[in-house]
């Protein structure tokens, strides 16, 4: 593995929903400005793991998290850190596109406004930011003449790109993607994958995917999760994507990748 700079460091992460342990003793480092894929069978805690990075698990009342996640050597779970700050730095794109029922412009601008990123600036500053985000999400040309139409009037693939534009508008460092293309048709999926490669030059991306071919196509590093007997998820193997898919170290990894179970 190259000597990558790690932007996130997970230490002894455990997550419970009530009495049920969903994640067990996860330790992993996420390299900066690369795409890390999280793969594994259903129910092994991949989405739970993803949501740990922006503290969205806390919205479930029975959820308890132990361990630390360091972002630039600061534990995002420490007592004095407000989750709102974490979410500003760690953005998220959801499985089913969920644009706001507002105009396309307002979808992208809202995040900028509530975080005060355009405070004291002119309207054209905000306009420029919105345009820049939509360009980065490869959506500008398709929507530039209809910025005031509702975000819900777009197709599924376009809506997802709008959600990506919305997420990058506030310039987070890390973007979490929870199966971003699973609700889309193959062409839209390819566009999303292209987009992911493009924006990984500026952002660190962590993507959960059920689609192994997608993980192999798109990611630089892969983390394989699986379940143990009491259905707690844990990290089985982590490494360079090429290595994981051609020469996995663990038998279970190999079984999953070759489709012997899933």
């Amino acid at each position: 593995m190259e000597n990558n700079h790690f932007v996130l460091s997970v230490h002894n992460l455990n997550v419970w929903y009530g009495d049920f342990r969903a994640l067990k003793e996860v330790n992993v480092n996420i390299p900066e400005k690369k795409i890390t894929a999280i793969i594994g069978p259903s129910g092994c805690g991949k989405s739970t793991f993803l949501r740990c990075f922006n503290r969205m698990n806390e919205l479930v009342p029975s959820c308890k998290t132990e361990g630390e996640i360091l972002l630039h050597n600061q534990n995002i779970y420490s007592e004095d850190i407000n989750p709102v700050i974490v979410r500003r730095r760690v953005g998220m794109v959801f499985q089913k596109p969920n644009p706001f029922p507002k105009s396309i412009y307002e979808n992208v601008a809202w995040g900028i406004k509530i975080n005060g990123l355009n405070n004291g600036s002119s309207k054209s500053f905000l306009d420029d930011l919105v345009e820049h985000s939509l360009r980065q999400a490869a959506l500008w040309d398709e929507v530039k003449d209809k910025l005031h139409q509702s975000g819900l009037s777009l197709s599924g693939g376009q809506q997802q790109r709008l959600c990506i534009a919305r997420a990058i508008a506030i310039r987070p460092e890390i973007i979490l993607m929870d199966e971003p293309a699973s609700a889309l048709d193959p062409i839209a999926t390819l566009k999303i994958e292209e987009l992911m490669r493009e924006i990984s030059r500026e952002y660190t991306i962590i993507v959960v995917t059920h689609n192994m071919q997608q993980a192999a196509r798109v990611s630089d590093f892969t983390a394989f999760f699986t379940m143990d007997e009491d259905r707690a998820g844990f990290l089985m193997e982590y490494g360079d994507t090429t290595q994981i898919f051609t020469n996995p170290k663990e038998k279970l990894t190999e079984d999953y990748i070759t489709g012997r179970f899933g």
Binding site: N54, M56, L59, P61, V84, I85, R87, R88, G91, M92, F94, K96, N98, P99, F100, P101, W110, G111, I114, N115, C163, R166, A167, I170
Partner: protein, 294 residues
């Protein structure tokens, strides 16, 4: 060999019996609906026949009088309009605020659940109890007297549970996915509620409020209890004035011996029904126009 669609005899006999039962049930339900509509129609026709001839502009401009020819609903209409206005002004912020707190901020504790159960129960409390509460609290203890302010405060208490329940339903109807998207952008709870929950819950909240007001408009017992009078012969000038409302005036006329007052009462009922119809239509119209199709 072609198979016939018709099965054997046992099946056919049993099928015939099942179809007969279905037709009977349909008939019975139809009769139930017809009965309900017929009763309502009879009531409406009776009121219209009695009241329409007495429905003149005179009715809106004159104060009540001992003489049916000179009597009108001027003071009652003013009282009703003032009361609805003040009640809405008081109950809407409190109702919506409570709903927001219960849905967005309240932790899931025994106390919260206790409050929730009791709000639903309050909607079923007989309205005269609210009248007694209003009498003791607003009229006497707070010294507001028999004013339209005291009446509106009493009615506000009465409709508050309805508004809270309607507002909560409207707030709950906002999909979780939109809330998550807002929070994931680093929004605080209030920013999310203000930009993404309230605007989309507003149509539902509005509808609920209008329906709550429709209930308030017809209430008689609590207002009599707090002292709304039956004979007001001057214009309502401010919230501390004494007042009367449409149902009370109608009730008063029905109790008078002269036949003409019965017809006047019928005319008053027509106006009350018309008001209710307008309010409900407005509620439905607003709900359909403003609703977001997720």
């Amino acid at each position: 060999m072609k198979e016939s669609l018709l099965e054997n005899k046992t099946f056919l006999t049993q099928l015939e019996s099942r179809m007969a039962k279905t037709r009977w049930f349909e008939l019975i339900s139809l009769m139930a609906v017809t009965m309900g509509i017929l009763i309502l129609a009879v009531l409406l026709i009776d009121v219209l026949v009695d009241g329409l001839p007495w429905l003149r502009p005179h009715l809106f401009t004159e104060f009540p009088s001992r003489f049916p020819k000179n009597a009108g609903l001027r003071s009652a209409l003013q009282g009703t309009l003032w009361m609805i206005g003040l009640t809405a002004l008081i109950s809407l912020p409190i109702g919506v605020g409570s709903a927001i707190y219960l849905e967005e901020y309240a932790p899931d504790t025994k106390l919260t659940r206790f409050i929730e159960i009791n709000i639903a129960n309050l909607a079923g409390v007989p309205s005269i109890i609210y009248g007694l509460l209003g009498l003791g609290l607003f009229v006497r203890a707070m010294g507001l007297g028999r004013s339209v302010m005291a009446g509106s405060l009493t009615m506000a208490l009465l409709v508050l549970p309805i508004i809270i329940v309607a507002a909560r339903e409207a707030i709950r109807a906002v999909p979780r996915s939109v809330r998550l998207a807002a929070l994931a952008l680093g929004a605080t709870q209030w920013q999310m509620v203000r930009s993404h929950v309230l605007p989309y819950a507003m149509p539902g909240i509005l509808t609920g409020t209008i329906l709550a007001m429709s209930r308030a408009i017809g209430e008689t017992a609590p207002l009599i209890t707090i002292g709304a009078l039956t004979y007001i012969a001057f214009d309502l000038r401010g919230p501390m004035d004494i007042f009367t409302v449409l149902p009370i005036q109608i009730f008063n006329w029905v109790s008078l011996p002269q036949k003409d007052f019965q017809y006047l009462a019928a005319a008053g009922i027509i106006i009350l029904l018309a008001l209710l119809l307008i309010m409900n239509s407005l509620a439905i119209f607003l709900r359909n126009r403003l609703q977001i199709r997720w």
